[in-house]
Subunit: 345 residues, 2 copies
């Protein structure tokens, strides 16, 4: 076992999981955390006794953002933070109601940049009808930070009325993706390295709450799991699901939508688009017989226009994800290993 923290512990892939499963989870162990899903679900009835009436369940989540650079094509650290936290709430079936904002500023940060980020936070929160209700501001000396780091925590009200989560996917279920993969990670990396592709790659950072709501209204309990493939990408997220539900997932390799520019950048850099972070996409696992309906519902929605059915759940080999090509070949799709694209969120 490693005795110091390395960049790959923060990459969202294999090392992150070893750190969380091997150190953090055993020490902090409690039934709510143990689900290790996008947000914690807290039944208020466990904390408040109310004679009459049913108390809702709360969803609670947090993410820190250390992306470099702070601004990139399609967004900045501020809207990334708002969308990211809202999406973790949405993935757990909750309507976001409030956010917190923790700022860790590096001495020397231009106030104009801070203003720009705050304005972007305000605009995105307003669009979503939620408020930043509490916050905190710390400053660290030059060389002990990097411009600014943000933490957002979010509270939501669980809206779904059926059990749902990465531990509840079943053999036969179909797996959908709401759009193209790899855009966010590649957009940040190209900007950071000063590289340019023929057509600019834009981050896909966006809130998915409205798309989730649209699906919920029409599909209800046919939706078995939602998950945003952020750090570690689709490959890592599907592996988490497969382990959590003790099933196998087959991915139809050629069905996964990847933009030409993203595919080009990945080829040049030797990266697999399936391991690259997305910040405005979701994986949806639905009952087999409702998969086509889910697909057309998503395609009706502006944030799901490029949705595809990309795979299916099988019984065996348990806990594994594998790719099937058009020609029928198969190979194992592992979690992200190492940290090929550091600090993309």
């Amino acid at each position: 076992k490693q005795d110091i923290i390395t960049m790959s512990h923060g990459a969202g892939g294999k090392s992150s999981h070893e750190l969380i499963e091997g150190l953090i989870r055993p020490i902090l162990a409690n039934p709510v955390l143990d689900a290790l899903d996008d947000a914690a679900v807290l039944p208020l009835s466990r904390f408040v006794s109310l004679d009459n009436g049913n108390l809702p369940e709360l969803a609670f989540t947090t993410d820190s953002y250390t992306v470099s650079p702070v601004k990139f094509p399609g967004g900045n650290i501020g809207d990334l933070a708002v969308n990211g936290t809202v999406n973790d709430l949405a993935m757990s079936g909750a309507r976001p109601i409030a956010l917190s904002l923790g700022l860790i500023l590096e001495e020397g940060l231009p106030v104009a940049l801070l203003r720009e980020v705050l304005e972007s936070i305000a605009v995105h929160a307003k669009e979503l009808g939620i408020s930043i209700v509490t916050g905190d501001t710390k400053v660290v000396p030059r060389g002990k930070g990097d411009g600014l780091y943000i933490n957002t925590a979010g509270i939501g009200i669980v809206e779904r009325t059926w059990p749902m989560g990465q531990h509840l996917i079943q053999p036969g279920d179909k797996v959908l993706i709401s759009g193209s993969v790899g855009d966010h990670g590649i957009a940040v990396m190209l900007r950071r390295e000063g590289l340019e592709m023929e057509s600019e790659v834009q981050s896909d950072t966006q809130s998915l709450y409205d798309l989730v709501h649209h699906l919920f209204v029409h599909m209800g309990s046919a939706i078995h799991a939602l998950k945003d493939p952020t750090r570690g990408g689709v490959a890592t997220t599907l592996n988490e699901m497969a382990v959590s539900s003790d099933v196998a997932i087959k991915v139809y390799e050629d069905a996964v939508p990847v933009k030409e520019s993203v595919r080009g950048a990945c080829e040049i850099l030797g990266l697999d688009p399936l391991t690259i972070a997305n910040e405005g996409k979701m994986l949806v696992v639905v009952a087999k017989e409702r998969a086509d309906e889910a697909l057309s519902l998503m395609r009706q929605h502006p944030k799901g226009q490029d949705a595809r059915i990309i795979g299916e759940v099988q019984e065996e080999p348990r806990g594994m994800v594998f790719l099937q090509t058009l020609l029928g070949g198969t190979r194992v799709l592992d979690m992200l290993v190492g940290d090929p694209l550091p600090r993309i969120c």
Copy 2:
């Protein structure tokens, strides 16, 4: 106006207030944030429609911790984070129910140190009967962090049934402190600088929820405001209250409890104990006629043994805090200016 962020923007004093009031609050403006109290109070009835039954109010708060060094006499960054967030909930009259934990680790951090901090978090949370239900772990490259930074956000259920807050203190009210001031800031600073006093100064980091609960049970609505004098110390916190309620506060200088070792360190270093951060003390503002009762209640409790009545609220000069000495002299007590003790939380 300054165009770059300086260390004093994070010190919790005058510059912090200018940043929050002048930049952050106008941009993020919303009625809940505008109270600028220790925690946001969210009436759930605003977000959920429930035909029968009364929905509780939630409290929601966050703080980031960047203390250097990470371990100090009496505590470490982990218990500081748990206690600090619990205290901001307690100050708003809420019972803590769940915490989030955001870690920003610097590449090269010894896993053994992370383990020690996590264990300390687990122990303190357990004592309080609350869980870390969600979290996030990021890693930043060497030289872009400092060991580890922590963000905790917390949710609580508001237990008080009367209005309370820094904007509700009234002329005539008495001001109490639960114990000695300056311990935390001085303990951290002495450790950081490698200085030693005759008797070691220990941080006062501790949860105040039980002390608040004890007061609530017996005093109810006679308690007009609670506030933990963290960054900026008692001087800054009282100034915030005076401005918020548009009243004056008179402090009996000689009544403020300061340990000998802390007073000694302050004299050597030219610091005012009233501007130094505490992490386990609270200011309590109570109706005049109940002040003695509040004092004896606090003294009954192990965390309030050294409680004192340290001042009173007056009509004029509005928005100001002043010190009165035993001999009758008075002088203005301003907020903390500059950043004489950086990174103490």
